[in-house]
Every structure is written in structure tokens, then in C-alpha cells.
């Protein structure tokens, strides 16, 4: 995968990026008051998660649920500012993490990080060598610590890396070609978390997940599988020391059980409340916290399908779907209608209400123009459950009813989540016009993963067999751009092309609602799938 690098020749723009401004902000917030609650001593926050977390190894394959715990334990070199809500900052800002600063060479090939003077919670120092050790675990098959699982899960992050070296607190990463999404990818899930090499040596690949050691704001205490993961404050944290003494993550896979646990006071925060419980809970005085994470619940068109390969049909379908109705009625306002392929939590977001607002007349006209005045029959595949899928079947049924209004007869083929993922990534069968999934990143690079002709299934997530040389070219330029602003512009351009061609039908963006007990303070829903707990306290 690393070898299959983007072949666009690098541009010559020179730019050095520093993060001084961000550091200032950090310094200010460190002095901010908020110690009032911490006098009470034993502050323990209990979070009801929607499912059991996986291994607490940030470099092994895992979903958001796991990463939400990892995020509290591990630092990444670069991180996002999650202290601002989505309203304040629709797109999260990058800020220094374990790297206090960094430079990028003008050709965009060499990244030099200055590693912060910090310690892992096992007492070993954080230095560039430690970070290099982590990188080689994911990237270098020749290194003793190499793990295929870690490599497989971080493939997009390290695909262009050519070399890594360390010297004291300085880490140098050399790319085979410019890769503009790199910093944002570093901040996210999929390989960014830095583990104590001593702990990795001690516990090994299999043990580290149960004995996680990082340098984050909380340190791991214990884990009773299926029952709880307990973290406690890292008093020696290099950044803001959290106000909470302890955080307990409890897996409660059943939505009703989560709500019941919140009501009975067993937990303070719950994720993914069932939409129907939200209004009642708010009435009872519970707090609702929502954001706009990089999440798109969308349909993929199959470009091998007789009907959906027709652009007019794709546009007609887009126009026939009632996104407002779904968000408000079916989902009770827990999601926003999606007006772009990219999520709003993304620099390349372009709101295209013109392309996506419901218009049945126009949809019918387009269908007639395409030669299907009476509509046609096709299949929509989706899962019955799954991470981020909200309530896939009722949503699919909703779309089924919308499309029936323009004469399109949709058959729903719903399978259980893991089998669905398996078949989804094998590519969409010819007779299936629409395949649903929810996904998204704060990096616009996400568009590339979905539409590049080099990533057509089964070689990548482009399961609709979309291939557009024009789009490929623009995205290639965006990836190798060395100027952030220029890259963003290119991504927006790519975005427009995809929208115009109606590659997808984005439906909704999840608001990722959390319900908090009345006494929870300082919880912020930022434009990300995970959250920062350093500022959270209990009354």
C-alpha cells in the first residue's frame, strides 16, 4: 500500500507551518479557573458506552468506541482542539500534541517534529526514539516490533512514508511524495496514538491492549471486561491536568439499558440514546449535548448498474429524498440533513442545498429525461445495525417511501453489520443500485478514499466502481499540495465535481447526541467523533 503512492509530481511551494498561536491558547486555558468542583475530592464520572471497547491499543484496528477511551490515555503528535463546540468551531483546529512544534520542508516531503518533554505514565520518558519505535511498529516489517494488525489499521496514515529517524527530542519523517492530509490523519484514529515502548516490550502485542500505557491526561487503572474500564487522572500530565479524579467507561449495548442506567444514576453520561428517549430525558432535566462530527450517512450509487450509472437517475434520486423529514420526524432531530458529500466538520465542506433539497417535480422530469418516466425497480443494501449507522433499516424504509413517490421501487436488503461490511467492501453487485454506509473524516482526504479510481473495490472502498479522470487529477493535486489553503481549495473543487456527478446521495449527518446528568459540567461536543474530558467536572 505504501508503494502504491500517489504519483503526482510534487509542487515546489515552500511553506513552514508552526503552531505558535495554538500554543498560546493552550497556555491561557491552563490558567483558567475551574477548580471549584475538584475540592470535593472523589469525583468519578461514569460514561455509558454503546458497546464494549476493543483492545486499548491505539494502533490496532478499532472503532470509535475504543478510540474514545484511547484518546484519554494516549497522546498523538498532533491533535485537535476539542474544547470548542461544533458551533464555535465547525471544523476542529489542529494543535500541538505530543509534538510541541513541527516543520514541513518546502517540498512537502520532510516533517520534523519537536517532541515535548514528557513522561509516559509508567515513568519512562517520551522522546523521539520512542515515537520512532511506535512508527516502525506500524510501518517497518523489518523491525522486531512490527505488527501486521497495526500496519493494516494505519495503512492510510503511513502509505507515503519513506523513512523515519530520531535524535533526542527531534523526529524526522520523510515522505516519498507530498501528502497534504498527513497532519490531520495523524490527529485521528488509525495509528496516531503513541504507546510507551517499555510497556510494549513488557506486555507485547497481545498484552498491551489490557495494560495500556500512554502519556495522556488519564492513566489506566483496571478493566473488568464487559463491566468497566477505569481511568484515573494523570497528575503529571504535561498539559491541562483534568479536574475529574476518575473516569469509568461502562459498556451498555442495549439502548434501553443505557437510558435506565442514566435515570437510576448508575452512569452520568450516555452515548447514543434512542431518539425517542431524548425529549423525555431533556424534560426531566438531563442535558443534551450535540455536535456535528465528521459523519455522513450516505448512499453509494453503483456505476455498473443499468439505472444508477445514468447521471440523470442519480440526480433524480438525490432530489427525491426528504432529508429534512428524515432528520426531524424519523430521527427526532438527532441528525442534520446532509447537503454535501463531505461532512461540515471538514475544511472542504461545500453546502449544496441546490443539489440536494427535495424537488419531486424536477426529479420526475429527470427520470423522464433519462427514459424512465414510470420509474424502475432496484435494490438498496444496508445493515441492520452497526457503529454509526443510527437506525439503518427504518431510515432505508423511509428512503424507500420517498423514492416510491417518483416511481422508483426500492427493495431493501438488510444484513447484519459485520457480514454487511464484508460484502460491502467486495464491491456492489450489478443488480444493486444503492449501497448504504456511514463514514467520514475531518480530513478531506476521505473523498479520495471513496472515489479514487485507484481504490476501486476490492482494492479499496470505492465500491461503486466510480472512475472519473478529471476528479482523480484534482484530488491528486490536492494531496500533493504543500500549501494548506491551496489544498483546501483543490479539495473543494473535487467536492464540486463529485456533487455535480452525483456520485453519492448523502442523507444525514449525525449529531452524535450525548445525554448528561444534570450535574455534569464542561462536556463539549466538538466536531469530532470523540471527546476531551479534561475540562469535565461534576457538581
Amino acid at each position: 500500500m505504501r508503494q502504491r503512492a500517489n504519483r503526482l509530481s510534487s509542487s515546489k511551494k515552500l511553506l513552514t507551518t508552526t503552531a505558535v498561536g495554538v500554543a498560546v491558547v493552550l497556555g491561557l486555558s491552563a490558567c483558567a479557573p475551574g477548580s471549584a468542583a475538584s475540592t470535593s475530592g472523589g469525583q468519578t464520572l461514569v460514561i455509558g458506552m454503546e458497546s464494549e471497547a476493543g483492545a486499548l491499543d491505539p494502533q490496532s484496528p478499532a472503532g470509535w468506541v475504543t478510540w474514545r477511551v484511547d484518546y484519554q490515555i494516549y497522546d498523538t503528535l498532533v491533535t485537535e482542539d476539542l474544547s470548542k463546540s461544533s458551533e464555535e468551531a465547525p471544523v476542529t483546529e489542529l494543535k500541538p500534541g505530543l509534538a510541541s512544534s513541527w516543520t514541513v520542508s518546502p517540498d512537502g516531503l520532510v516533517y520534523t517534529f519537536t517532541i515535548r518533554d514528557a513522561n509516559f505514565t509508567d515513568g519512562t520518558p517520551v522522546d523521539a526514539a520512542a515515537v520512532e519505535y511506535n512508527v516502525r511498529r506500524m510501518w517497518d516489517p523489518a523491525s522486531p516490533q512490527y505488527s501486521p494488525q497495526a500496519a493494516g489499521s494505519s495503512v492510510y496514515l503511513w502509505q507515503n512514508l519513506a523513512d523515519v529517524s530520531s535524535d533526542g527530542q527531534t523526529l524526522t519523517l520523510t515522505m516519498a511524495q507530498p501528502f497534504s492530509p498527513f497532519l490531520r490523519l495523524l490527529a485521528g484514529i488509525g495509528g496516531g496514538g503513541i504507546i510507551s515502548p517499555a510497556a510494549l516490550e513488557k506486555y507485547g502485542d497481545e498484552g498491551i491492549g489490557d495494560n495500556p500505557v500512554g502519556s495522556g491526561p488519564f492513566k489506566f487503572v483496571d478493566r473488568v471486561r464487559g463491566e468497566r474500564i477505569t481511568l484515573e487522572r494523570n497528575d503529571d500530565y504535561w498539559g491541562d491536568v483534568p479536574e475529574l479524579d476518575r473516569v469509568v467507561f461502562r459498556p451498555l449495548p442495549d439502548a434501553s439499558a443505557r437510558v435506565a442506567a442514566l435515570r437510576s444514576g448508575d452512569v452520568d453520561i450516555i452515548a447514543v440514546p434512542s431518539p425517542d428517549s431524548v425529549a423525555g430525558l431533556v424534560d426531566e432535566g438531563y442535558q443534551l449535548s450535540e455536535g456535528t462530527p465528521p459523519h455522513v450517512w450516505f448512499l453509494r450509487f453503483n456505476f455498473d448498474n443499468e439505472y444508477t450509472k445514468n447521471k440523470l437517475v442519480r440526480q433524480a434520486i438525490n432530489l427525491a429524498i426528504d432529508r429534512e423529514g428524515m432528520a426531524e420526524d424519523l430521527l427526532q432531530g438527532t441528525a442534520n440533513p446532509a447537503y454535501d458529500i463531505q461532512a461540515p466538520a471538514n475544511d472542504a465542506y461545500v453546502e449544496r442545498t441546490d443539489a440536494y433539497t427535495r424537488n419531486l417535480e424536477e426529479a420526475k422530469a429527470l427520470l423522464a429525461e433519462a427514459g424512465y418516466p414510470d420509474g424502475f425497480t432496484t435494490t438498496l443494501t444496508t445493515s441492520t445495525d452497526g457503529s454509526g449507522q443510527i437506525v439503518p433499516v427504518p431510515m432505508a424504509e423511509y428512503i424507500q417511501q420517498n423514492l416510491a413517490e417518483v416511481g422508483i421501487d426500492v427493495k431493501i436488503d438488510a444484513t447484519e453489520w459485520t457480514s454487511y461490511l464484508g460484502t460491502y467492501f467486495q464491491g456492489t453487485p450489478d443488480d444493486v443500485g444503492l449501497a448504504q454506509l456511514s463514514w467520514g473524516m475531518t480530513s478531506p482526504y476521505w473523498l479520495y478514499t471513496q472515489t479514487s479510481s485507484s481504490l476501486i473495490a476490492p482494492n479499496g472502498p470505492n465500491v461503486g466502481y466510480y472512475s472519473n479522470p478529471e476528479l482523480d487529477a484534482v484530488m491528486g493535486q490536492a494531496i500533493s499540495a504543500t500549501d494548506d489553503a491551496a489544498a483546501t481549495e483543490l479539495w473543494k473543487q473535487a467536492n464540486e465535481i463529485a456533487t455535480e456527478d452525483a456520485v453519492f446521495a448523502p442523507i444525514v449527518n449525525d449529531k452524535a447526541p450525548y445525554i448528561l446528568a444534570p450535574n455534569v459540567r464542561g462536556f463539549v461536543s466538538a466536531s469530532e467523533e470523540w471527546y476531551d474530558l479534561t475540562n469535565v467536572s461534576l457538581d
Binding site: S51, P148, Q149, G152, R228, R250, A257
Partner: protein
């Protein structure tokens, strides 16, 4: 007697061997690729191939089975696809929790079901008999998870008597009292169906016993009905009741999955639920194996205690 036990133990071991074969085959039959399960959305063909090799999935199936059996004998049940740690570490603690829950439920089943059945038999055709049998028949027809939710709603939320989830308090995990408090609702929910079955079986077995000739001898000796029921009828019905209880343990171990999910009980059932949705086959394999082993063992135990309970089989008479 000794011969009988030996024979039963040997046949149980054979059954267990069969069980492990079935469990292994179960995984082989699952469509889809464990490597794909591991890597999820980020999977690329190269990464998948690499992971497959790391897991030994590229070996012939017979070799895989021998590896699996060898592992079993060493107590190695494989590595979880999702959590990347030895399955035994995941399954064993949760299995213990399931045993706690199932054990508590069993105590309720036996403690309530047997007396209920005895009394119903004693008062055959009375209002008490008909009512308790109707209720227990109803109990056997109620979907467990539905009952569990009702219990949560009423005793957990409306009355607030019991916690609704987990095994211990989240903030200050207490010792045994805390555990017992958390145990009440899930144990009751899990006990319901087996309780109904045990009550019905106890009733019919007791009725049979009460028709025996020796009961008339006992009555003619002037023994009070209560002594006849609780001492003699129970004692004679016990072997059959124990057999039924042994079989109900199977239902308990299977049905407990619903209870664990709804009550967030960190047991094997909840783990299986998670593992099934994650297609974590080694964990499913181990979990199913554990439960099957317990079930087989419990029934072996039931068989043996039936032998001990019945004086007639204690000394095998020469035919």
C-alpha cells in the same frame, strides 16, 4: 454404582470431544474472513493477506484443527480477533460472572419452583393449583428480554429498589452486598422460564408419587399430610426433579444471554452477544465451548446424584 459413574464419565468425555469438533466446524462454516473482521473498514487485500498469514489461516484445515485441539489441551483457546488478547483471558472472568448469575437464578428456580410444584400437587385441582400452573405456564411463554425490561422499569426505575445494570456500583464498587443487590433483578428475570418448567414438572412427578401405594401406608400410619408431602413425596420425587433441574441449567445458560444484554451484566452471554455482532469467532468458539462443557458436566452431576438419591440404584441388584 462405581461402574455406572465410570461409564457416564467416559461417555461424557466422548461427548465433549464431539462438542469441540462441532465448535471448530462452526467457525469454519462462517462465511467471511477473520482478517477482514480484524481490519474492518481500513482493510486492503495486502493487509488482509498479511493478517491471514499471521493468524495461520492460510494453513490446511486439518492442520488448523490439530492446532486447535492441541491448543485446547494446553488450555489455549486462541486469540480474539477484536481485542487481540488470549480468548481465555476474556472468556474465563466473564464465565465466572455468568456462573454467579446462573447460580443465583438456579437458587430462585429451585427455591420457588419446587415448593410451588409440591403445593400445587398437594392441592390438585384447587384454585391455588390452577392459578399457579397457569401463571407458570405463562411464565414459560414470556420472552425473557421483555420480562427483563419490565422488571427494570418497575423495580429499577419506578420503585428504585434495585440497580438496573452491571454487577457492582460504578463509582464505589462494593463487596458482596453490592453484588447481591445487583443480582436480584437479573437473577429473577433469568429464573422465570426454568422456574415455570421446574414447578410444572415437580407438580406432575409429585402427583405420580402421591398415587403410589406406600403413600397410603403412610396415611394409614397417621402421618400428617405435610410430613407426607415435604418428607416422603419430595424425597421420592427428587431424582426426577433433579434430572429436570439439570436440563434446565442448559436453558438457564442459554437464556441468560438476553438477561445479560439487557442488564449490562458482564457475563459470557453478553460477551457472546458482542462477539457475534463482531464476528469474533475464537471468542464465540470458546464461549460456546465453556457453556457446553458446563451443561454436560451439570447433567453428569445430575445423573450421578440421581443415582445417589435413589437407594435402588445405589446397589445395582443382580438382575
Amino acid at each position: 454404582m462405581t461402574a455406572l459413574i465410570t461409564r457416564r464419565v467416559v461417555s461424557t468425555l466422548l461427548v465433549l470431544l464431539g462438542v469441540s469438533v462441532v465448535v471448530f466446524l462452526l467457525v469454519q462454516l462462517v462465511p467471511g474472513d477473520p482478517a477482514r473482521v480484524i481490519l474492518g473498514q481500513n482493510a486492503t487485500p495486502a493487509a488482509i493477506a498479511e493478517v491471514r498469514q499471521a493468524l495461520g489461516l492460510d494453513k490446511p484445515i486439518v492442520v488448523q484443527f490439530m492446532d486447535y485441539l492441541g491448543g485446547l489441551l494446553r488450555g489455549d483457546l486462541g486469540t480474539s480477533l477484536i481485542v487481540n488478547s488470549p480468548v481465555i483471558d476474556i472468556v474465563l472472568p466473564r464465565f465466572m460472572n455468568t456462573l454467579i448469575l446462573a447460580g443465583a437464578a438456579l437458587i430462585i428456580c429451585v427455591g420457588v419452583g419446587v415448593p410451588l410444584g409440591l403445593l400445587a400437587a398437594k392441592k390438585q385441582y384447587s384454585v391455588f393449583d390452577r392459578a399457579s400452573m397457569f401463571i407458570s405456564m405463562t411464565g414459560a411463554s414470556v420472552p425473557v428480554y421483555w420480562m427483563a425490561l419490565l422488571l427494570i422499569g418497575f423495580f429499577g426505575l419506578t420503585l428504585g429498589w434495585f440497580p438496573t445494570s452491571g454487577m457492582y456500583d460504578s463509582r464505589e464498587p462494593g463487596g458482596l452486598p453490592d453484588l447481591l443487590l445487583h443480582l436480584v433483578l437479573p437473577a429473577v428475570a433469568a429464573a422465570l422460564v426454568p422456574l415455570a418448567v421446574i414447578a410444572r414438572m415437580t407438580r406432575s412427578v409429585t402427583l405420580e408419587v402421591l398415587e403410589q401405594d406406600y403413600v397410603r401406608t403412610l396415611r394409614a400410619s397417621g402421618l400428617p399430610e405435610s410430613t407426607i408431602l415435604w418428607r416422603h413425596a419430595l424425597r421420592n420425587a427428587l431424582p426426577q426433579i433433579v434430572t429436570v433441574i439439570g436440563l434446565q441449567v442448559g436453558y438457564l445458560l442459554g437464556g441468560v444471554i438476553f438477561v445479560e444484554v439487557v442488564f449490562g451484566w458482564p457475563g459470557l452471554g453478553g460477551q457472546l452477544y458482542t462477539s457475534i455482532s463482531q464476528r469474533d469467532m475464537p471468542t464465540i468458539q470458546a464461549g460456546v465451548l465453556f457453556i457446553a462443557v458446563v451443561f454436560v458436566a451439570v447433567n453428569l452431576l445430575a445423573d450421578i446424584s440421581v443415582g445417589v438419591l435413589d437407594p435402588r440404584s445405589r446397589k445395582q441388584a443382580v438382575a
